[in-house]
Symmetry: C2
């Protein structure tokens, strides 16, 4: 698949870009700054010479031209970035991986965006696109560390069955990840918020935790 990643210069976006490219996809990374995208692309390609990553550096505009587009910007920029690319994203599957979180002292806590979830706001900004929410619970550093696979179940939700399908296919193409259909975009609210719990566990147990569900045979 040809995948664009908006906001790919942050840890989650660059980690995902590397992991997707290592799994055989053509990736174009976008950023508000083209130079910054070039820097990050060069870092990723230089860090993993054995993987011969195919990553193109663009700006968000260019990345939004891909077949499937991931929004990996900070959560408070997700829907404005989406809105600025409404024409390029029309008709496409758009995957939102942002979480609205804040740090209160030593603790991560979830924030509730106006429509309940970041993905809900993105879908509202992109009425002609098919938005899926996914990949919230995978530690960004683990995503970007190509020396080993990331063993994780990955929850996907969307109001469009075809978006759930495409997103799940993408997830399943990454070794040891398993996509699970978690229902409509209404479920993006608890899925996004739960990321605060994961971060909390990481702080408390000095680790990078991921989620697995027992009892599910897919």
């Amino acid at each position: 698949m040809h995948i664009g990643v908006l906001g790919a210069t942050g840890p989650a976006g660059s980690g995902l870009a590397a992991r997707l490219a290592a799994s055989g996809h053509e990736v174009i990374i976008g950023s508000r700054s083209h130079e910054r995208a070039v820097e990050v692309r060069d870092e990723l390609v230089g860090r993993w010479p054995d993987h011969a990553l195919v990553i193109e550096a663009g700006d968000n505009q260019a990345a939004a031209g891909a077949e499937v587009v991931v929004i990996a910007t900070p959560w408070d920029g997700a829907s404005t970035t989406a809105a600025s690319l409404v024409e390029q994203l029309d008709g496409k599957v758009v995957i939102c991986m942002a979480n609205a979180l804040t740090r209160m002292g030593k603790e991560f806590q979830p924030l509730v965006p106006p429509r309940g979830s970041v993905a809900g706001n993105v879908q509202a900004a992109l009425p002609g696109s098919r938005v899926a929410a996914a990949m919230h619970h995978i530690p960004a550093k683990e995503l970007g560390d190509l020396s080993h696979p990331v063993e994780s179940d990955v929850l996907v939700c969307s109001d469009h069955a075809s978006a759930t399908d495409v997103t799940s296919e993408l997830i399943d193409s990454m070794p040891d990840m398993r996509a699970l259909d978690a229902g409509s975009l209404a479920l993006a609210a608890p899925i996004e918020a739960f990321t605060a719990v994961l971060l909390q566990l990481n702080v408390r147990y000095k680790t990078r935790a991921a989620v697995k569900f027992t009892g599910i045979t897919r």
Copy 2:
């Protein structure tokens, strides 16, 4: 430990009562109706003769007299039940396992109670108690099926370290369960809401899913 379970005639409460009794605790089950508590106690003891369960049947008033008290009522009755027992519960560890959920068509969706979580409302109703939120994600039927252990990580959060400790000890006493400290009671909101995702997965994959976190050595 001597544990009281309020609202123990529902599936979650009766399942937990059976599991706790099978793990060697003395359990007193409460209900608004003493007769109903007796019925449920007799059902549990009759169903698992080999476990020789020590379960006493009381009403909520009697169950609130125990050393540690679990609130397993329906979510919309949790804080009013708690408020009616404020004196009995004063100074105690109170474990809230309720989730505010609704079913929209075929889908479970979380509701947001006024203080963000049911446990937050219960703590507000019980200013002299130490409230912990825990045991939201274990399928009720699995809890109550004593023919096999429930392999699950169990998230615990509280504003009182001693409540997290006591609750964790209780959880760790049940075979194959592992308590994890998920921070302050602010985290009850995403933990409770995430139950909707678990139920959604159960519907979608016709299973009873539980959660495990990879990468955590406790």
